[in-house]
């Protein structure tokens, strides 16, 4: 039989290290605590060495990776806190609750820092909508995010939905949360001050999510009782909302020295991390923790992942006031221990010491692994696919309609209308455009937010694909009129112990780092999710980028829809025959292969600068970035979002060297579709000519149809109902 430590997921090397740290054999409680803290999820033992390559500093970065969330200076003494988190595996088991508790967890990371959550974004990846199981997951996840986000009163203002077979058994449910705060309210998860009091408030502690360490229980209980331990947590957004209000009130009234949410590894993580950050120790008694169920074991209380719980550290003088605030909000709250000066985390059970470990050793001293990486063999084969040899369909109008109604490109209103995206009355650009835009009350400013990540590109080339994720996010922010400021990222990959997967991971991180440097958008934190595998293997490597941009004047915000008959349409950037990894290739030819589009970071950045300049000068009235579906899709969207048609001249210099499908559906990077009144053309040309960017006037806004002379003619009304009806129709 395997040793207990092995069943808990610890290696012999790790077990030896624990014994060395303690100078003795660990108790069961200690062993369970090390096993959760030294898990991949909590310790980042495979990824941490790689993540060191990210740029994390910049003049606006007030808090980089390492705290509960990153914090970015947006001027006027205000700051934005943001962070992204994955809840992939729980959502695969129980879509509604998995997604719901994912929202809960990431919101806590935000308000823990003293910021009021003002937005949620949800990048989602599912299998293709072909069977009931996938539909059930998709519907459940969306409802779960709605159920939790709506109840807590945080608007979900943007996201993405992607369908690809590789996610069928392992959907990706990432959620990004964003908060607004005054810089003088920044609060950290830190247990400073010997003698300070440690308080738990929020929900009671139950046997939720004890999963991995339940082997400990089976030693003491019958297998039957172990089977009763729920591996799925049920979210309680009402209590979360109360936690938000209580936490912000505590911070506003300067009643706490530190605040920390309970995430993975529950009380163990919250106590050792806060103590470790302060170089202090902590002594707690598990029996003082409010319990939902009778007869809980000490280790169960230490590792339970019950949701909606918070840890507060305050001075003894403030103890009663802290408890009073929590109770006024109807929350359970109680003192469970105090901060000590010896650096040890001491766990008692009704006064009896059941564990005593250096806090640092749990929080920071997991053995890091330099995993072997190997370039996967499939790459050479898929990359050698030549799109030049493709036989293109004749009817381009039909092809465009196919793309417009492809699950990956059709309207997402079925999703985002289930989300309250207007609560808090800041949403200045509603979902449906390129980035969500929030105005900041009592200020002229606004922020733009987006999440992007194309697994297909990363499958074909993780380095470039990850760069494109950053570039596309920046492009979406720029198209909304915002200057990109900072990034949070969620890295979804397969089992890192397989060298091929780890190679993909390393390449993607390298690509993201280089791109973030190029755009001046440091990484302020993020999340790594490994082991995304199912019976058909690993998912496509899927790094997801969440980006924040700043708009100085909310009235200068930009949207993707055309604005008025007669305006001219310009395409900024250059179209190359790049169909590799495109939605066109997938939808029309059922192929995922080729090279993903090339990305020239300088070119991309210059394009952003030109577009931002044109917006600042008030020259252009719409901007829409080109991404999946290429020019054809961008034209269609700008029409459908406005209800206005357009007439496009296919003989513009732009497409001279391209086959028509290449011209319309290539996914070449660094392009933007804009429209402007004729009177602005002169100045617009000037600023473009002073840059290294090219542009072409390709047509005019007007009429009720999208017309590309001699190629296609589609009534906008017809196109719009097909585009809007797709998801609903597929779900049935």
């Amino acid at each position: 039989m395997a040793a207990l430590y092995e069943e808990l997921g610890l290696t012999t090397e790790e077990y030896t290290k624990i014994k060395k740290i303690l100078g003795r054999v660990p108790t069961d409680v200690e062993l369970s605590m090390y096993s959760v803290m030294w898990s991949e999820h909590c310790s980042y033992k495979s990824s941490r060495p790689v993540l060191k390559g990210f740029p994390t500093k910049g003049p606006r970065i007030l808090q980089g990776p390492g705290e509960n969330a990153g914090i970015i200076d947006i001027g006027d003494g205000m700051a934005i806190a943001m962070k992204i988190e994955s809840h992939n595996h729980p959502s695969a088991i129980e879509p509604y609750q998995g997604a719901a508790t994912g929202v809960g967890g990431i919101l806590r990371d935000i308000f823990t820092m003293g910021a009021r959550p003002i937005a949620l974004l949800d990048p989602l990846y599912f299998g293709e909508l072909k069977n009931d199981r996938v539909k059930h997951i998709f519907e459940g996840v969306v409802e779960g995010i709605a159920g939790y986000g709506n109840c807590t009163g945080v608007p979900t203002i943007a996201g993405s939905v992607n369908f690809e077979e590789c996610y069928e058994g392992n959907p990706l449910v990432n959620v990004m949360a964003v908060g607004l705060m005054r810089q003088d309210k920044i609060t950290k998860g830190i247990a400073s001050g010997e003698g300070n009091v440690v308080i738990v408030f929020g929900n009671k502690t139950g046997r939720d999510g004890i999963g991995g360490v339940s082997v400990l229980a089976s030693q003491e209980f019958t297998a039957k009782s172990a089977a009763k331990r729920p591996s799925v947590q049920v979210g309680d957004p009402f209590t979360e909302k109360l936690c938000i209000e209580a936490s912000l009130e505590l911070i506003d009234n300067k009643l706490v020295v530190g605040l920390q949410d309970f995430g993975g590894a529950g009380l163990t993580c919250a106590t050792c991390e806060t103590a470790s950050r302060a170089d202090m120790g902590m002594e707690i008694d598990v029996r003082l923790v409010e319990q939902r169920e009778p007869n809980m074991e000490a280790f169960e209380i230490m590792v339970s992942e019950s949701q909606e719980r918070m840890l507060a550290i305050c001075t003894p003088e403030n103890q009663e006031r802290v408890l009073a605030v929590c109770r006024r909000w109807g929350l359970d709250a109680g003192v469970i221990g105090h901060v000590t000066g010896d650096g040890l985390l001491r766990v008692k059970d009704n006064g009896v010491v059941v564990g005593e470990m250096p806090a640092h050793s749990l929080a920071d001293e997991a053995i890091l692994y330099n995993r072997p990486a190997k370039k996967p063999a499939y790459l050479a084969e898929v990359q050698s696919f030549d799109t030049k040899a493709l036989k293109h369909p004749k009817d381009t109008g039909k092809t465009l309609m196919k793309l417009v109604t492809s699950p990956n490109l059709c309207s997402r209103h079925w999703v985002y209308e289930q989300y309250d995206h207007m609560v808090q009355t800041n949403t200045a650009v509603l979902p449906g455009s390129d980035a969500g835009v929030l105005r900041l009350k009592d200020s002229k400013k606004a922020i733009a937010l987006t999440v992007d990540g194309n697994g297909r590109y990363c499958y074909l080339d993780p380095y470039v694909g990850a760069q494109i994720a950053v570039a596309e996010a920046a492009r979406n922010v720029v198209a909304s009129g915002a200057v990109p400021l900072a990034v949070t990222d969620c890295l979804n990959f397969g089992n890192p112990e397989k060298p091929e997967n780890f190679w993909q991971f390393k390449e993607a991180v390298r690509g993201m780092g280089v791109a973030c440097s190029a755009f001046g958008t440091p990484v302020t934190g993020g999340n790594v999710s490994f082991y995304n595998e199912w019976q058909k293997g690993a998912i496509y490597p899927t790094p997801v980028v969440g980006m924040l941009g700043l708009i100085d004047d909310v009235n200068k915000r930009m949207t993707a829809g055309f604005k008025k008959e007669g305006h001219v349409i310009a395409l900024i950037g250059e179209t190359l025959p790049e169909l590799g990894g495109s939605e066109y290739l997938k939808v029309m030819h059922k192929i995922v292969a080729g090279r993903c589009p090339a990305l020239d970071l300088d070119k991309e950045r210059h394009m952003h600068e030109v577009v931002l300049e044109a917006i600042k000068l008030g020259l252009i009235v719409s901007a829409h970035d080109l991404s999946e579906g290429g020019l054809g899709m961008a034209l269609a969207e700008s029409c459908m979002l406005s209800g206005l048609g357009a007439r496009v001249n296919p003989d513009s210099a732009e497409r001279s060297h391209l086959e028509v499908n290449e011209w319309l559906f290539s996914e070449s990077q660094s392009r933007m579709l804009v429209s402007l009144p004729e009177k602005s053309m002169f100045l617009f040309d000037r600023i473009i000519h002073n840059s290294r960017v090219q542009h072409t006037y390709i047509g005019r806004v007007g009429g009720d149809d999208l017309v590309i002379d001699d190629i296609l003619n589609i009534p906008i009304g017809e196109m719009t109902s097909a585009w809007r009806g797709t998801l609903e129709c597929l779900i049935g």
């Binding site: 109840c151 009402f238 209590t239 209308e417 207007m422 808090q424 009355t425 949403t427 509603l430 009350k441």
Partner: protein, 231 residues
């Protein structure tokens, strides 16, 4: 003296700040009222905001109606004070019996958040006196239970008394099935009580008070209330 508005905060309310902001923007003097407060006599009007009081876990508004503040509000209503319930606030008013009928889940069983077109059926109320008769307005909805139900008799009575104030309609102002977002009987979106001092509506006027938010039409409701209490 400016009109004095009180915005009630129940555990789980989440539009109280939005209502506070909106009422202030149109010129009212606004304060929060805690759900355990027992006196609201100092206000001219009370707003029950949207959100999820007590999580809406049992039934929307079902637990909130037992809050101490609701006794004070019953008293306030008896004395003729103005009360507006928006979304969850409307649901609480229904549960508390201050307005007739009840809310069922949306016909499609989905939460719906989007702008809707509404026709003002009665502009002679304390809440719509700044509207034109039959005026078309645009306000967002955001709810899971906005499917209004009342029995035939109640509906008939309400019609006779002009108690139906807002109905969902299409962009031309026609009340059609297709324009009904949630299955609400007769497209009902907002109603007043017989006495005309309690108003409940599912759409969120406080979300349509600035051009940056896409519509100004919500101002009309708050301005009507201010005008009514300033008389």
């Amino acid at each position: 003296m400016p009109a004095r508005f009180g915005v009630v905060v129940f555990p789980g309310s989440n539009c109280e700040q939005d209502c506070h902001y909106a009422a202030r923007l149109v010129g009212a003097q606004v304060a929060y009222v805690w759900h355990q407060d027992t006196d609201v006599a100092k206000y001219d009007a009370i707003i029950l905001p949207g959100g999820f009081s007590y999580g809406d876990y049992l039934r929307t508004g079902a637990v909130a109606k037992f809050s101490p503040v609701m006794d004070a509000i019953l008293d306030f209503v008896d004395k003729g004070g103005l009360v507006i319930g928006i979304c969850n606030g409307f649901q609480i008013l229904l549960e508390a019996g201050l307005l007739p009928g009840a809310m069922l889940r949306n016909r499609d069983l989905k939460f719906i958040c989007r702008y809707t077109d509404l026709v003002v059926e009665n502009n002679q109320t304390n809440f719509t006196n700044k509207a034109l008769s039959g005026e078309l307005i645009r306000l967002p909805i955001a709810h899971n239970e906005g499917n209004y139900y009342a029995d035939e008799e109640t509906l008939g009575e309400m019609a006779a008394n002009g108690q139906v104030v807002l109905r969902y309609c299409d962009t031309n102002g026609i009340v059609t099935d297709a324009a009904n977002p949630n299955g609400s009987l007769q497209n009902i979106a907002g109603i007043v009580n017989k006495q005309g001092n309690v108003f409940g509506l599912m759409p969120h006027p406080e979300r349509a008070i600035e051009t940056v938010l896409g519509s100004l039409d919500g101002q009309m409701i708050f301005k009507s209330m201010i005008s009514a209490v300033s008389k």
